[in-house]
Subunit: 232 residues, 2 copies
């Protein structure tokens, strides 16, 4: 793989810090709140259905999840859910937004090393701008990044728009992330480069098959990125 | 006022298109839904209180308003609100997100004229990225703008970060918008330029007094911006 890039972009959630396990924990608590109205599997299916129906309206992030959980509770209970339970759902969403920041292994070492090279480091994430800025501030990693870019989605058109905005050519752009669907496939498809760093937990909406391309490598851990880029 | 800028930034809601009246209409419907639990004035005060309490968690936009309306309904009714009413509140929020795009007077003329000059035009807004991208697409104005920048807030630090990201000096940056608090005062305070174009309806959270500075002018309409910049 090519080793020099003008911009190295990192996905945030589950690439730099823990996210998906907090979402899973929130959903488990939601299923417990609603156990009178369905078992875990049914509730999980109903919640996912609601989230997919609302995705074009709400986009990604904790506020959309909170609204979708509320709507699911009303539907599966046939409006029999107690108002106090709705407040508990809102509180689950607020607790999710305020989860502590937990860095993933090797993040600081990798950023510190790459920061000393010539590439500009940025964060490229979908989700809620306010949430991501808060996480970045709490992470203590802000110093390494030139800035944060929030995309409403991570499809080819979004990356093309991003490269135009950054005034950078695809061959000078490397994306590092934990979602093949969002961080790897669309990036490779526009002629840029990508390194996949898997995380043990992922949302079913993000799952995709391995991609074969000379522009893409799969690492087993974030620190392996340093070997790939030959910067150790 | 200086007449040449490298970047001319437009606020979006109530500068380019109608927004606040749709929020007011949504709130009126919310007050009607809850009329058994308080008069309009009380409900308005309670909603604003909830929104201010949630602002650091939720930020700006329709999803945060929907969650704050839900929480207010639970509180003012002492959990006596019907679950079906909660669904109606969620539906109000979805309808708000899907309001038709209504351009303000003179917008197209102003953008078309300024687009032919040397400055780069961008949209700088707070609120929800997905909502603002949807509005820009529906507006038919996308062709005039280089890109959209979403800020989690419009304070001095946010503008400083933006100028760094855009690699532009304050004296080369002009902001045009309808909120003195968000679009004018912080911009002038960092040494950049601003033109205030008032709109007849504004959220109480956005109100601020007139600012006196050689870097700032107040227009009576958007088309007056062309006179100010001497581009007619």
């Amino acid at each position: 793989m090519k080793q020099k890039f003008k911009i190295i972009a990192f996905d945030a959630d589950d690439t730099l810090w823990v996210n998906e396990p907090f979402y899973r924990e929130t959903e488990e608590k939601f299923f417990n709140l609603l156990q009178d109205f369905g078992n875990k599997e049914t509730l999980n299916n109903e919640l996912f259905k609601t989230e997919m129906q609302n995705l074009t309206l709400y986009g990604y992030g904790a506020k959309g999840l909170t609204l979708s959980m509320t709507e699911t509770a009303l539907r599966v209970s046939n409006n029999q859910v107690k108002p106090a339970t709705i407040q508990s759902i809102i509180d689950l969403g607020k607790a999710l937004i305020q989860k502590p920041l937990v860095l993933l292994d090797g993040v600081e070492e990798v950023l510190k090393t790459l920061y000393q090279k010539e590439a500009l480091l940025i964060v490229v994430t979908k989700g809620d701008l306010l949430d991501q800025e808060r996480k970045l501030t709490n992470s203590g990693l802000k110093q390494y990044f030139h800035h944060v870019e929030i995309l409403s989605n991570k499809k080819e058109e979004n990356y093309l728009q991003l490269l135009k905005k950054l005034n950078v050519q695809p061959e000078d752009f490397l994306m590092i992330g934990n979602s093949r669907k969002s961080d790897i496939i669309p990036v490779v498809n526009i002629g840029a480069y990508a390194i996949f760093v898997p995380y043990h937990t992922s949302w079913q909406h993000e799952e995709a098959d391995k991609v074969e391309s000379p522009n893409c490598l799969e690492a087993t851990s974030l620190t392996e990125v340093l070997n790939i880029l030959n910067t150790r």
